[in-house]
């Protein structure tokens, strides 16, 4: 079972690295959206500092959302998803491997580049670590919950808007707690509660979301 997990993970990573430019797209999108705000609102540090946590978190949300497509869509179209579902390994494990690969390829880069964006948006130095930690706990949940949405819409043509309609409301708790953690850390207060909440949601998502995704795939992707 572990072997199947590693095997699929390695396959997805290898496939992704074959088209490297595509790999960078969500990351560029993330940076681009955040840098639109100073242009649209004001470059003044006072205002940007107030908006920073929200802007960075919303941009991360959208960036993950746009990259969700490659989680199952390609596999569905070329038929390799059918093979996965026919394999003797439990589908939940395979789903977990695919989601983990997706997070390594989109979520983790966002986490790593976040300090730069924090600098762009004048996030105080003492809040940068919170920004990283909150994204580190939050982005896997975005991938996990997003996987449910993708698997539900995998057979729908032009399902992009539909996917956001389904998934964005479910992202709200992560957005609230993630952005607030950064906000509170900027004021120099403790953010243990917020981070614990994010960790709890992550634990819940890891245990339940792959199950729901597996069920969803059996419903929609079987031909």
């Amino acid at each position: 079972m572990l072997k199947a997990f590693y095997h699929l993970l390695a396959r997805d990573l290898r496939l992704a690295f074959r088209s490297r430019h595509e790999l960078a797209n969500p990351l560029i999108f993330f940076v681009l959206v955040v840098s639109l705000f100073p242009l649209a609102v004001t470059p003044s540090a006072d205002l940007l500092m107030v908006m920073a946590p929200g802007v960075i978190w919303v941009s991360a949300l959208l960036s993950v959302l746009l990259s969700l497509d490659r989680l199952f869509k390609q596999d569905y179209e070329d038929g390799s998803l059918d093979q996965l579902m026919l394999s003797p390994n439990p589908l939940v494990i395979l789903v977990l491997a695919k989601v983990f690969a997706h997070w390594l390829l989109t979520g983790l880069p966002l986490v790593l580049i976040a300090p730069l964006l924090g600098m762009f948006m004048y996030v105080p130095d003492e809040a940068i670590s919170t920004l990283i930690f909150s994204l580190l706990l939050g982005t896997p949940v975005l991938s996990l919950v997003g996987a449910i949405g993708v698997s539900l819409t995998v057979a729908v043509n032009r399902g992009g808007v539909l996917l956001s309609l389904i998934i964005l409301p479910l992202y709200i708790p992560i957005l609230i707690f993630g952005a607030n953690a950064v906000d509170v850390a900027s004021d120099g207060m403790s953010v243990r509660g917020q981070l614990l909440f994010l960790a709890a949601v992550l634990a819940l998502a890891i245990s339940l979301a792959p199950l729901a995704t597996a069920v969803a795939l059996r419903i929609t992707a079987s031909r």
Binding site: A155, G159, I166, P169, P173, N180, I219, T220
Partner: protein, 249 residues
């Protein structure tokens, strides 16, 4: 014993049997909904005393609160019947779930609009990011997502199962969303004094509120059955019994 119950459930939930039974139930639900609704309106508009803080504007409560209760109640009913449809493959449960969504969305919409109409005299603004209104707004998005998914998948069985799973995921999420919105609201509570929360509840105010809530439930029961019957006719349109029935109409 178990087998007998199972057999009974299957017989009752066969679309044909449901169609004839529900036809007899609808008038009862409709009549009692009208009766209670009129009684509730009379009690609410004529008998209930004026609120000493909010004046007459509080009478919106008799619309707003039942609508808000219904919006959540219907979502739960939808998720539970979708779950039954998903696990035990009972087609009727899927139809009830699909028939519930538009009614639930309507109630949510009414709760939102009446909430904001109540907010104007109380807060001085039509929209305030109050915890309850925000939760209702998110609930409306959840309904829209369900309906969009349901209508965008062509195969009926797949559409039922996929949107049913989404409803279940939504219902698991609702407490988390609710809690985080509540928490978010207490952080940002500036000028908003949540007057919507506790209008001092006189018994004469409570009775019409509860009567209206029950009337709304009965109304939902009648309408959901009518809608589910439409679904039965449409989905079983190639069956002999539907054809015989339609020819008589």
């Amino acid at each position: 014993m178990f087998k007998r119950i199972w057999g009974w459930i299957q017989r009752f939930s066969s679309p044909k049997h449901f169609y004839s039974i529900s036809g007899k139930m609808i008038p009862w639900f409709a009549i009692s909904a009208i009766f209670l609704g009129v009684y509730g309106l009379y009690m609410g508009l004529f008998v209930a005393p004026t609120d000493y803080q909010q004046g007459e504007s509080y009478r919106i409560i008799f619309i707003h609160v039942p609508a808000a209760w219904m919006s959540m109640f219907i979502y739960v009913v939808m998720a539970v019947s979708a779950g039954i449809g998903l696990i035990w493959q009972i087609k009727l449960a899927d139809m009830i779930a699909a028939a519930s969504a538009p009614i639930g969305a309507w109630f949510t919409f009414i709760a939102l609009v009446t909430g904001s109409l109540w907010g104007k005299p109380m807060w001085g603004a039509y929209w305030v990011w109050d915890a309850r209104l925000t939760s209702e707004l998110i609930l409306l998005f959840l309904y829209f997502g369900y309906m969009a998914l349901q209508s965008s998948i062509e195969d009926q069985r797949t559409a039922d199962k996929a949107s049913g799973l989404l409803a279940i995921v939504g219902v698991v999420n609702i407490p988390i969303i609710h809690y985080s919105v509540q928490w978010w609201n207490t952080l940002h509570q500036g000028a908003t004094v949540s007057k919507l929360d506790k209008p001092s509840m006189h018994v004469d105010m409570l009775i019409p509120l509860l009567v209206m809530a029950i009337a709304a439930k009965l109304f939902y029961a009648a309408i959901v059955l009518v809608r589910a019957r439409n679904q039965v006719l449409y989905r079983e349109r190639n069956r002999q019994w539907v054809r015989e029935l339609v020819e008589k109409l």
